[in-house]
Symmetry: C2
Subunit: 213 residues, 2 copies
Amino acid sequence: MAKISEPTVRRLSHYYRVLDEVAGEGQRTISSRILAEREGITSAQVRKDLSYFGSFGRRGLGYNVEHLRTEVRRILGLDRRWRVGVVGAGHIGSALLAYRGFGDQGFDVVAVFDTSAARVGHRLGEQVIRDMATLSEADALEMGVIATPMRAAQEVADALVAAGVRGILNFAPRKLRVPREVALRTVDMTMEFESLSFALSQARTPRRRRTAE
Amino acid sequence: MAKISEPTVRRLSHYYRVLDEVAGEGQRTISSRILAEREGITSAQVRKDLSYFGSFGRRGLGYNVEHLRTEVRRILGLDRRWRVGVVGAGHIGSALLAYRGFGDQGFDVVAVFDTSAARVGHRLGEQVIRDMATLSEADALEMGVIATPMRAAQEVADALVAAGVRGILNFAPRKLRVPREVALRTVDMTMEFESLSFALSQARTPRRRRTAE
């Protein structure tokens, strides 16, 4: 299989949501046009993405919903459950624990850590907050979430890697160093705002600028 | 100017961070190779992205840091301040208010709203939480953040649009309908986890799969 780019993976996540929805409505086939809708993707892009995985729709009939859903689910690694540990029991950690959607998709938060004595021992959702120092390989975590202040993030990443974690989701606004074999994703809220300010700036100026040229 | 895709905007945000960092270190020129680093981008991609905006490095010398930084800053709409309203004073709203980075980049949270009588009137950061019903055009908000439960999200989006907001950042895990001229970005936490489970699944299986074929 060719190396799949990050934007392709995001589109697969999108297709999976659509497939899940239409499967729930009892629909049996779906066209690439419907899969493309709402995301600013073309039907051609959908067909290209799915052809990577050996899935081909039939002209005029489209894709078989159940088959494609099962396949995308497997490709995204959602056909199994994942053990997730959250480090940092502040606002972001609490927001994650409060969100039931993760469990539905196979992501089980099985441990929450913090270094603050004021937090350790208290409950957060179904978990009792543990001292970060107790994190070990015995926790068998596969994914870790870093929801700590910026200055602690690298140390936490190192501890997660040492405990055997292979995927890290980082909410701290700083670059982290992890070994090559560890997958790292950073959620950068400022970048989301920048995407909006870009869009709004473009909307403001194009006509005026064109006239000036 | 050609239509700029969302991944290009994200790369511009990345370049801006790097440029900001090296400008702070007093560096005067930068190569496309350094701008490409850490993001899995090629130097050719960097040169292509920047050529959209009429910026060309000089072979062997690279780009002028200060010039490029000013230009990317303007393109991203970061050469001005934006009035942002946050709806929902729960975990995510609180996390956003607590993060100082937004102000540094020109995003000023000037109002926070909620519908809960238990929250309205209390302070959150420098803001006093207001009743959602008091949101109006008089607030002159340009961007709105939806950090409410899923079921309230569409109603909040409608209210933000009615109040003149032109850009919305949505943290609620559901699709929203907004007019064409309003920019909408959704932060989908589950999608971030899926990107990790995809990466971890691929790391597990490729060799075995290849042997089986």
